[in-house]
Symmetry: D2
């Protein structure tokens, strides 16, 4: 049994991570840490965990967590992770970091997050944990930067054709819509029920901090700079991201050939499902699962790709556990089906 | 044109009050006050008001508001109203207070709200603004305590039979369900979309501070102490309250006679609609309106009464304007249809 | 008092039309028609109308409705309107048709709706009822084709720059999201709560029948063929459409100049509100109103325009009444504020 | 590996049953039946099942299903089950029936469901599958009548005190609120998003067909007739039932003693969690789980009990699998945690 710790257990991501880890027969949760006043039963904080887990939740004590764990998940806000990750790394622990701190080259990070990076050494060593792109590297990695939710949804939708899109010099437009848990568990007026319910809005259009992650990864894949125009929107649902992606067809092959790129690229992937050509997935197809479903359609000279994920699973905690399974050399699907 | 001011313009209740007043051809809004850093166009705070109102929103200046107003609405939290109302009253302004500060006898207030009442003089002078009960008093009143949302829904549902229920010594159980705006515009985790959406909960069962208001008013009507067992619940909707009320039939007359009490009591009321016997209303029947719809059903020796209101209208701002219309001697329905 | 009839009173659009007409002091509803078994009080069908309207709802009798009306609204499905409209026109009645039957040139209609047009004479005579484009023609029109909901949201967002976009040969992408009432009142599994709630989906991407309406009108405005790539999505909200529109900036002027086109174009429009440059509106800003709010933002060489409307008001019944007001020569805002 | 068949695979209950069975390591699904035109991959009907199950869905062929199965789940409407269950029973198959057909004594069934029972022999043999009441009988049963959703929520909340409530001659009032999937997958206007969203209603108050199930079971437990006054309500959520139950305290012991009855009764139950005295659960505590959470509170001489379940799990398919696990002698929690 592999021993794992969760640092940042009380956010939506941390909570979901615990749910997923509890279903994993190969690991045992040995510690839960969060900003708590005193040691508390996790089920006293969140009654839904009663009779499911009896590990207490404590303030973070790095030595104690390290002593009890083979692998540690960091479900922390950005800028916090880069203070804590190096401590665990020094102690030889495997780390999966769910924050944005280790996903980008230092220059992009500092530009888009507006803050200095204080752990550039580990930044360069971190493996970007998108299994569909980096599975081989993940197998031998000790430190994983788990992808962002929007980038997972957009990058997976473009991976098979990034090269040809870049070559043709085409513009990508990604119009994404996310459920409210994507913003984390926060007491903000803008996230209150009265503001979100029966409402819908666009925010940070072409200014969102997930843009450089999409562009950096896709540019690496394509071997050429790619621009992704990206506008996120807030959906009145708890969970899920649907991205509608538009690319002009001129310069790209026929739709059957485009479609074949997708079916071939993902044919052995356990958590990506490509729909029959012309069909597109919807949010409920993947809610509560680790799947990314992708549909491709070409109409009136426009290639339209729709991808859906559960933002807390394939977009965060599910993917983190998928990465863990790969790192541990166990069946990648363990606890995720 | 009557000049009115709104103090506490930025809460859900204040905002709704402005919407309702804008439809009222007999009044003009002359001032908006709230906790704002500096004078701001109201539509800059809430863009939905653009091209609808051009009165700026300012920090409260009692002298200025009084100078500009014939009548002032106070849409403030409890304990705040009782500091401000006396100032306007001294200046001879008519006041409609939407807080809980002037609804209860001092002893009940201090017991249930856990704080001293600092304006007991005006407390005794305030008229409880439930038109279906106190229309005559409201006509000549200068100071109105506007009823609470839950009490409006429960009291209206019981008014016609309070006397006979009290005489028969029967227990009343009111199971109420309210939309999330009932809690006001607050940045609380418990009111966040992620906690309210797809959720439902019971809170403060038989301990809610609206209980003494229901019991006090109904006991006055019945001339005898009445106990109302009351459990409120939080619905994942923006607005509306539905109360399901249970009373055993033993000691009460036949259902037709009970029903007749309702149709007679409310036959001339512009904003209460009694359904055909055996039918019950639903939330959408009154959402966005000032109506209270009531259904009565007797089945298996149980009298079941269902009432619905829009908590922001008949449960707050709509009723406040109804009271204003009565005070001003204009058509009670002005701006409310 | 102008006498108006509503044919198709029981759909979401018909119901909303009645709500709006009831607030209009210059008209009186004289007849309501729908597919009903027998004459029924409208409030027996929809209890929310109790104490608001006492006109009965009957099966359509064209002679009777014509005899009672100066103007008739047709809130009917497409292909039904073109059977009924000519009858009223023959009798000299003014008509506002809310269906799709009279919005398109016959060729486009037959191609996209897959059916023959049986009233081409009146089709050519119908005025497309978008006041912001055709106000002068509407003033003297007897027969109005009321715009579709998606087209209203997309065309208004593009009107001020259609000419320059067409000249620059740029591609327009409109990603629209609509509430569930947009599909009408239908007992379909795909519209059931269990399928729509907590879900979100894209449908008919670049194949929706509203595309030719957008393209036809914008091409007329631009004097040149314009292609609008359009993907509609189904939001889990009752009402509202938000359209996010993407156009590359190359070939267009600086953002300030683009923005000025909007403020100038709409400066006297009572129901279009342009946000400060860089800000975008959200659904709740216009829910329950006849406004179309528009925001413009230029970022990373992409012009992003966000427009919002209430699909049942500016997208249907509100706009229909706005057209009626213009036709009757009364204040365009009557009953719509 | 136990072989199981699901008859009625395409309803909400059938679909959920498949989800739960897929997590159960001791069984394998060998057939899926439903009203389908032709043999179809289940994931073609419901794409969320792609890469999860490859059993096709066929029209029901009793011989074929029986040949392939050790145990068959019937997720069928009432009156349909009693035509099909006897066929499988004759062939010696274990049956878990999720309909209402075998839950009640014949007289009660015929009175409340308004139809003759055509399989009274098996009716008498069926074991009522509430593990917290009948675990020993379930162990050796071949035929289970799986409880209704509302009855599960109300009966579990009353089991520990039914005897003392009946003795004291007290009236029970159960005000229940259910998510929309409780009504099944149906294309009804009353279940459309436009009617359910932002709405809430009471229906069949004290007339619902689940009343005799509650009363019959609780009366058996108490050894004395018990009346349960029951009003169900429709919540705008997908899943979950919350029941608020009111009993006057007079004639009952002190609250600590009442509470002790609950903790003792359920102390070894894997799927019932009793909250600390005075706390009550909410819907999200059990959504997506097989738990029933119960809270007890005594205030102002009223005993208030709140119970929550997921209507599709503990209220239907989860409980069915819990029953299966008990029948098969495997760990009761298998696949349910």
């Amino acid at each position: 049994m592999i021993k794992v710790g969760v640092v940042g257990a009380t956010g939506y991501t941390g909570e979901e991570l615990i749910e997923v880890l509890l279903k994993n027969s190969e690991v045992t949760i040995t510690s839960l840490s969060a900003l708590v006043d005193k040691e508390t039963q996790f089920s006293d904080l969140y009654p839904r965990f009663a009779k499911k887990i009896s590990v207490p939740c404590k303030s973070l004590d790095i030595n104690e967590v390290a002593a009890k764990s083979d692998l540690v998940f960091l479900a922390l806000p950005h800028t916090v992770s880069m203070k804590i990750a190096p401590e665990f790394i020094k102690k030889g622990k495997k780390i999966i970091d769910l924050s944005a701190d280790y996903r980008l080259p230092v220059k992009l990070y500092e530009k888009w997050y507006g803050t200095c990076h204080t752990d550039t050494g580990n930044l360069n060593a971190a493996v970007y944990g998108l299994p569909e792109l980096n599975r081989e590297k993940i197998k031998t990695a000790d430190f994983i930067a788990n992808p962002g939710c929007y980038p997972t949804s957009v990058i997976l939708a473009l991976l098979p054709i990034a090269l040809m899109v870049a070559k043709a010099g085409l513009t990508v437009i990604a119009d994404s819509k996310s459920g409210a848990t994507g913003a984390g568990r926060k007491a903000l007026m803008s996230l209150s029920f009265g503001e979100v319910d029966e409402n819908f809005k666009c925010y940070k259009a072409n200014e969102h901090q997930h843009i450089p992650e999409m562009e950096h990864i896709l540019s690496c894949v394509a071997g050429k700079d790619m621009q992704v125009n990206f506008a996120p929107h807030l959906l009145p649902v708890r969970r899920g991201i649907l991205s509608t992606i538009y690319i002009q067809q001129k310069g790209l092959p026929e739709e059957n050939e485009i479609y074949k790129k997708y079916t071939e690229y993902f044919k052995d992937e356990p958590f990506v499902r490509v729909r029959p050509l012309g069909q597109v997935p919807e949010l409920q197809d993947v809610a509560g699962t680790n799947f990314c479903d992708i549909g491709i359609k070409v109409a009136r000279d426009m290639v339209i790709i729709v991808s859906v994920i559960d933002n807390l699973l394939k977009g965060a905690s599910g993917q983190a556990v998928q990465n863990m399974n790969i790192m541990l050399g166990i069946d990648e699907k363990t606890g995720l089906m």
